[in-house]
Amino acid sequence: MRYMLLIHHDENDLGDPDRLNEIYAGWAAFNAALAKAAGAAPGERMEPASKATTVRVRDGRTGIVDGPYSDTKEQLGGYFFIEAESLEKAVEWAELCPASKYGAVEIRPIVPPGRDY
C-alpha cells in the first residue's frame, strides 16, 4: 500500500544555515535508504510557506490569497512516498525520517488509483 508522508516543521527554527546543513546530512542518509526501498520516492522539499498561494472559491467567485491554507507555527516543508504493508510499517519509516526529531511526520494512506473515496 502506498503512503504519503508529510513533514511539518517550524521554518523559523531551521533558518540557521549550519542547522540546515545538519538536517540535509541526515536526509542524505535517509534518502539513500529510501532509494533502496522498492516503491519509495525520494523526498521533495518545498519553498517556504510564505511562497504559497491559496485559491478559494466562494459564492462562485475565485479568490486568491498569498500564503498557505492554514497559518500554523509549523508548516508543511516537504513530503515523500513509500510502499509499506501496513500503517505500522509506515510508522517505522516515519521514525527513521530525520524530521521526526525536530518536527512532525504525518502519515496518509493513498487511495489506490481506480478506486474513489
Binding site: 467567485r61 475565485t62 486568491i64 490569497v65 498569498d66
Partner: protein, 411 residues
C-alpha cells in the same frame, strides 16, 4: 442615500481623483508620489460623498484635504528625512493647482498612454490604468486577475517605478504612433472588461465591467476623432447588453444562440449602434470596429431571425487579414461552420493543429468538440469536449460541456 446615488457619488470621487492624480503625475513624473499625496483625500471622499453628497466643486474639495494633509505632514517633520524634497514638490504642485482649481486640464489620457507604454509589460497595463485612473485597490485588481493582493501590490509598485526610471513621458503620441499606442490602451481597457464579465453572477464582477466601460467612455470623450476608441466602447456595450441572459435562473450557462433576447439591454445596444455609426464616419475601419460590427450582426440575427452568417464570415475574413490571430481564426471557423458546414470549418482550423498555445486554450477544444460532434466523429468530439471541460474554470460551463458530451451517446 439610494444605491444609485451612492454609486454616482463614488464615481464622482474616482473621476476627480483620477483627474488630479493624472495632472500631478504628469507634472512630477512621480505616479507613486502623486498617489501618496492624494490617498487620504481620496479615501475621505469615498467615505463621505456617498453619505453627504458630492460637493459643488469636487476637485477643490479633494485639493483642500490633500493640501491640509501635506501641511500637517510638513509640520510634523522634526528632522530632515529622505523624500522630503519629493514631499515639498508635491506640496508646491498642490498649492499651484489650488490657485485655479477650475482650470485643471484633464491629463488622464496621457496617463493611460504612459501606463500602456511599450516599455510596460502587457500584463501590468490594465492593472496600472485601473489603479491610477480609477483609484481601485491592489486587492480588487488582484482579485480580477487571479493574483493575490500583496503580489499585485508589489507588481504595481515596480511598474510605477519603471515609469519614472525609464523616463516614460505623459504625452499623447503623435499621429504616426497614435494608432498602435491607442491599441495598447484599448486592449488594456478591454482586458479589464473581459475579467469583469467572466463572472456574470458575481457582484464585483459586474462592477469591474462597468469600470472598464467608464474608462472606454472617457477615452472616447478625450479622443473624439479616434474611431477605434468608439469601436472598443461599442464592443463592450454589445457584450454588456447580454449580461442578464448569459445564465438562466438556475445558474446554467446559456450560449448566445439560446439566450432570451427579452433579457437583453436595448439601451446598451442602442448606444453601441450609435457609436459604431459614428466610428465608421470617422475614417478607416480598424480591428475594434470590425469586432463591434460582428457583435452587431450577431445581435441583429437573433432579433430579426434573419440568417446573416455570410456577412459575419466576410467580417471575420477582413479581421483575419488584419490580425492573423489564432483567436480570430477560431471564431471565424464558427461562422464558417454556419455557412459551409462543420467539415469546412474543421479544415480551416488545420493551421492551429501544431500550435502549442492551443494545448491549454479552452475555446479551441470547445469549438473542436462542437464541430466534430456535427460531423459525427463521436470519439473525437468526446476527447475534445473532455479537454474543454478540464480547461474550464467556470463550473457552469463545465456542466454544459459535460451535458454536450453525454448527448453524444444519444447520437
Amino acid at each position: 442615500m439610494a444605491d444609485a446615488a451612492r454609486r454616482a457619488a463614488e464615481r464622482a470621487a474616482r473621476d476627480s481623483y483620477g483627474r488630479l492624480l493624472a495632472f500631478l503625475a504628469a507634472r512630477t513624473r512621480d505616479v507613486a508620489g502623486a498617489e501618496d499625496a492624494l490617498a487620504e483625500a481620496f479615501a475621505s471622499a469615498l467615505q463621505s460623498w456617498p453619505e453627504q453628497g458630492v460637493p459643488a466643486n469636487p476637485d477643490a474639495w479633494l485639493l483642500t484635504v490633500a493640501r491640509r494633509r501635506q501641511a500637517d505632514a510638513h509640520r510634523r517633520r522634526l528632522t530632515r528625512q529622505a523624500g522630503e524634497g519629493h514631499l515639498t514638490l508635491m506640496r508646491e504642485e498642490l498649492d499651484e493647482i489650488a490657485m485655479t482649481p477650475d482650470a485643471i486640464p484633464d491629463r488622464r489620457l496621457a496617463l493611460m498612454f504612459a501606463c500602456a507604454h511599450p516599455h510596460i509589460e502587457p500584463a501590468m497595463r490594465s492593472p496600472l490604468i485601473l489603479q491610477t485612473v480609477l483609484g481601485l485597490t491592489a486587492a480588487d485588481i488582484g482579485a480580477a486577475f487571479l493574483v493575490p493582493a500583496g503580489t499585485m501590490g508589489q507588481r504595481l509598485v515596480r511598474a510605477k517605478t519603471r515609469i519614472g526610471q525609464m523616463g516614460i513621458g505623459f504625452e499623447i503620441p503623435d499621429a504616426a504612433d497614435l494608432p498602435a499606442r491607442l491599441d495598447a490602451v484599448l486592449d488594456a481597457i478591454y482586458a479589464a472588461y473581459a475579467k469583469g464579465w467572466t463572472d456574470p453572477a458575481g457582484e464585483d464582477g459586474g462592477q469591474l465591467a462597468e469600470e472598464a466601460i467608464w474608462l472606454g467612455r472617457l477615452v472616447v470623450s478625450l479622443l473624439p476623432d479616434a474611431p477605434e476608441a468608439k469601436g472598443m466602447l461599442a464592443l463592450m456595450h454589445y457584450s454588456h447588453a447580454r449580461r442578464a441572459a448569459r445564465r438562466d435562473a438556475g445558474g446554467a450557462y446559456v450560449p448566445l444562440e439560446r439566450q432570451d433576447t427579452a433579457l437583453w439591454d436595448l439601451d446598451a445596444i442602442g448606444a453601441a449602434e450609435a457609436l459604431l455609426h459614428a466610428a465608421s464616419r470617422g475614417g478607416p475601419t480598424g480591428r475594434c470596429q470590425i469586432e463591434a460590427a460582428i457583435q452587431s450582426a450577431h445581435i441583429a440575427r437573433r432579433l430579426s431571425g434573419r440568417d446573416n452568417w455570410p456577412a459575419i464570415l466576410q467580417l471575420y475574413d477582413i479581421l483575419l487579414g488584419m490580425t492573423g490571430s489564432p483567436v480570430v481564426l477560431l471564431n471565424r471557423a464558427a461562422a464558417l461552420a454556419a455557412v459551409e458546414g462543420p467539415h469546412a470549418a474543421l479544415a480551416s482550423l488545420a493551421p492551429l493543429a501544431g500550435d502549442k498555445r492551443m494545448l491549454d486554450y479552452q475555446p479551441y477544444w470547445a469549438l473542436r468538440g462542437h464541430l466534430l460532434a456535427e460531423t459525427g466523429d463521436r470519439a473525437g468530439a468526446h476527447e475534445a469536449l473532455t479537454l474543454a471541460m478540464g480547461l474550464s474554470a467556470d463550473p457552469a460551463v463545465r456542466r454544459w460541456l459535460g451535458a454536450r458530451r453525454a448527448a453524444l451517446q444519444d447520437g
